[in-house]
């Protein structure tokens, strides 16, 4: 295959993957690293004959998802996993404050008020437009589990945004 075809794949998906990673990490350098990692891994997998089989976009987001999770664990600046999280806490971490101003209120809530799993599911389902099944494949979770996480996340957003809207009135 002409390497230009691979560059075409990069041109098509890199900006979207950057947005996805940037949205979840809140850091442009980290998002850029993640994009680099995703495409490096794509080449590695193609070389080993383990590349994407049926859904390239889903495959790229799956790799990006794992990279975002890895980066988050390395930096240890994300909120704990759902089971351990205190949903009543509205405090955000210092590193997230830096980017909060430039984000929409909803985006800030996604980053600060949702658990890691909820955040990923919400972003993949409603911002990146993946189906339940695709989201389940990307995150490596059961489809029913994805539905449950999504419902909890929406409930949480409804509460927080409702309170916020009431306060602004």
């Amino acid at each position: 295959m002409d390497h230009e075809a691979l560059v075409t794949v990069f041109d098509r998906y890199a900006p979207a993957l950057y947005k996805y990673a940037r949205r979840l990490t809140g850091d442009c350098a980290e998002a850029d690293d993640i994009v680099g990692d995703v495409f490096t891994l794509l080449l590695k997998h193609l070389k080993e004959g383990k590349g994407p089989r049926d859904n390239l976009r889903s495959y790229l987001y799956q790799v990006a998802y794992h990279k975002v999770v890895d980066h988050a664990r390395e930096r240890k600046h994300l909120t704990p996993v759902e089971s351990e999280m205190d949903l009543g806490s509205g405090e955000s971490l210092p590193s997230q404050h830096e980017h909060q101003e430039e984000m929409d209120a909803v985006e800030a809530i996604i980053l600060n008020q949702l658990t890691e799993d909820q955040r990923h599911v919400i972003v993949l389902r409603f911002i990146e437009d993946f189906s339940i099944k695709e989201t389940a494949e990307i995150t490596g979770k059961d489809a029913n589990n994805v539905k449950i996480i999504q419902n909890r996340a929406i409930t949480r957003l409804r509460q927080v945004l409702g309170r916020q809207d009431e306060a602004t009135l």
Partner: protein
């Protein structure tokens, strides 16, 4: 289970979907660097990986127009590769394709004279030569007769009493 302060799900989803338009763009300089780096790595891969492997994997994953363009590129690459291969290995290919013509070899039987023994014990060779020969039938297992005094070469005839 919505309280007074909560919003309907549809509104939440609408707000979430509105975020598709929002989001930090990839900084131009970072994108350029990353693209160049990927391009170099991809060139290395193209050398290492067989053409069809990647092509099969990616072709049907791309949008229609890109897919069409890639098909043209792939087919062209395959044709060129096939032509080059055919040229480089032309001798071997010729050998493979060569039809082995098996020429039957006939070994003419050497005409060995057939001896027809006549009743008198004189063999007659046909058709051209007639050879008279005395044929001794020697049975190697047969012991010599005790009265055989020996008329063979190197033996002294035993004087008769």
């Amino acid at each position: 289970m919505t309280d007074k302060r909560s919003l309907p799900n549809e509104e939440i989803i609408q707000r979430l979907e509105s975020l598709k338009q929002v989001g930090a763009e990839y900084p131009g300089d970072l994108l350029k660097k990353r693209r160049a780096s990927f391009r170099n790595a991809a060139m290395g891969l193209v050398v290492a990986v067989p053409v069809i492997g990647i092509g099969k994997g990616l072709l049907h994953l791309l949008p229609h127009t890109t897919e069409a363009a890639l098909k043209v590129i792939l087919v062209s690459a395959l044709v060129v590769e096939a032509g080059l291969g055919a040229y480089v290995f032309r001798d071997q290919i010729l050998n493979w394709l060569a039809v082995e013509t098996v020429t039957p070899t006939y070994t003419l039987p050497s005409r060995t004279p057939q001896s027809n023994l006549t009743s008198s014990g004189t063999p007659t060779l046909s058709p051209t030569a007639t050879v008279t020969a005395t044929i001794f039938f020697v049975d190697p297992t047969k012991k010599p007769h005790p009265t055989d005094h020996g008329y063979h070469y190197g033996q002294t005839r035993t004087p008769s009493p």
